[in-house]
């Protein structure tokens, strides 16, 4: 299969990817809003193409502690999904959902609740894209890690590293109405899946 050159994606492709983020994250965030019974606002998705050296700093510093919930994306479209929250937001989320106050550390129940929230959101994201493109997409069970941002981001970066020297991701930030919960949703499609996504949407590949 001919690959799309990540360095030569034109504005139109980027707009399409942003729109995918818009639709997917819109659904994911509606699901979140329903779960916690609060209004959640979403920002315009950003498509970023970064060198690996820059990746670990997307949360400010590589040693910022974040909660990361990770999914493998498989089926016609491959890649991965990362749902990231700062510690305070994750604790607020647990509070909103379960009425539990998180002590110094998240216990197993709380971690599992966060995984499940991520699972519902990622499921909504992928289901809406799958409907839109008529492509088969399924996500793995969620896996959580609470650690340095750089270490968590190394996982999708390594996966991308096998096929490219840059990483492309579609990032959608969201913020709950009272600003207690802020999060980031990343769709990181495998570069080899671009052709398929664009074709499914009726876009001619290779910039003709």
């Amino acid at each position: 299969m001919r690959n799309v050159d990540i360095n030569r994606l034109n504005e139109m492709y980027l707009d399409i990817l942003k729109e995918l983020g818009n639709i997917g994250a819109g659904n994911a965030i509606t699901a979140l809003s329903t779960m916690i019974g609060k209004k959640v606002d979403m920002q315009v998705p950003k498509v970023k193409i970064l060198d690996f050296q820059e990746v670990s700093d997307i949360f400010g510093s590589a040693d910022t502690i974040i909660v990361g919930i990770y999914f493998d994306l498989d089926g016609d479209v491959k890649g991965n999904i990362l749902f990231a929250l700062d510690i305070k937001s994750a604790a607020s989320l647990i509070w909103s959902l379960m009425g539990l106050e998180v002590k110094e550390e998240f216990d197993e129940l709380e971690k599992s609740a966060l995984e499940e929230i991520g699972n519902i959101m990622a499921g909504s994201y992928v289901a809406s894209l799958s409907t839109l493109t008529s492509l088969n997409m399924k996500i793995s069970p969620p896996a959580i890690s609470i650690d340095m941002a750089g270490a968590i981001l190394s996982v999708p970066a390594i996966k991308y590293g096998e096929i490219s020297d840059k990483i492309l991701f579609i990032e959608t930030q969201f913020i709950e109405g009272e600003k207690l919960i802020k999060g980031d949703f990343f769709l990181i499609p495998d570069i080899n899946s671009f052709d398929l996504i664009l074709k499914a949407l009726g876009v001619e590949v290779n910039g003709k």
Binding site: D63, G150, G161
Partner: protein, 162 residues
């Protein structure tokens, strides 16, 4: 010379002389490989993401891989006056950040990186004098070329010199 700190990102490498400090922040499944010539105190740190360059379709960034990354690091260190026969190494990282509920290759890439690193260093005859490998947590490392100490910092798993 001041104690300058050189930061090494993913798929990146830096070399220095005493008393320079080499650091990489938030190592996950990647491996940080420090090479050190104890006589000249020429030091290098490479942050590799993947095991072997020849198994990948895109291998243009040589610093991404254990085999080519170590090779380039040695070349750069020799330019600063290191003797390749005297080099010793310290390695850290190779964690599995997410639990194995996800049953794919990417989940044990940390281990594969660590194994490849040891194989490459072994073939080059570079002894590994200290290591902090594996687990399911991230690490920040700082190497002090002045005395060869490697500081390993974690979230919840302590801080130590190796």
């Amino acid at each position: 010379m001041e104690n300058k700190i050189y930061r090494v990102g993913m798929a990146d490498a830096k070399v220095t002389q005493s008393p320079g400090i080499l650091t990489t922040i938030g190592l996950g499944s990647c491996v940080g490989i420090v090479l050190y010539d104890p006589i000249t105190k020429v030091s290098g740190l490479v942050h590799i993401m993947l095991p072997y360059s020849n198994k990948m379709s895109d291998n243009s960034n040589k610093l991404k891989f254990a085999d080519t990354g170590i090779q380039i690091l040695i070349e750069e260190m020799v330019k600063l006056g290191a003797n390749p026969k005297r080099l010793i190494s310290k390695i850290a990282g190779g964690a599995q950040m997410f639990s194995s509920k996800i049953n794919s290759d990417i989940m044990n890439i940390g281990e594969r990186n660590a194994v490849a690193t040891k194989e490459v260093l072994g073939k080059l005859g570079i002894p590994i004098v200290a290591e902090d490998i594996g687990g399911n947590y991230g690490r920040t490392i700082e190497f002090y070329s002045e005395d060869g100490r490697l500081l390993v910092k974690t979230i919840g798993y302590g801080i130590k010199y190796i």
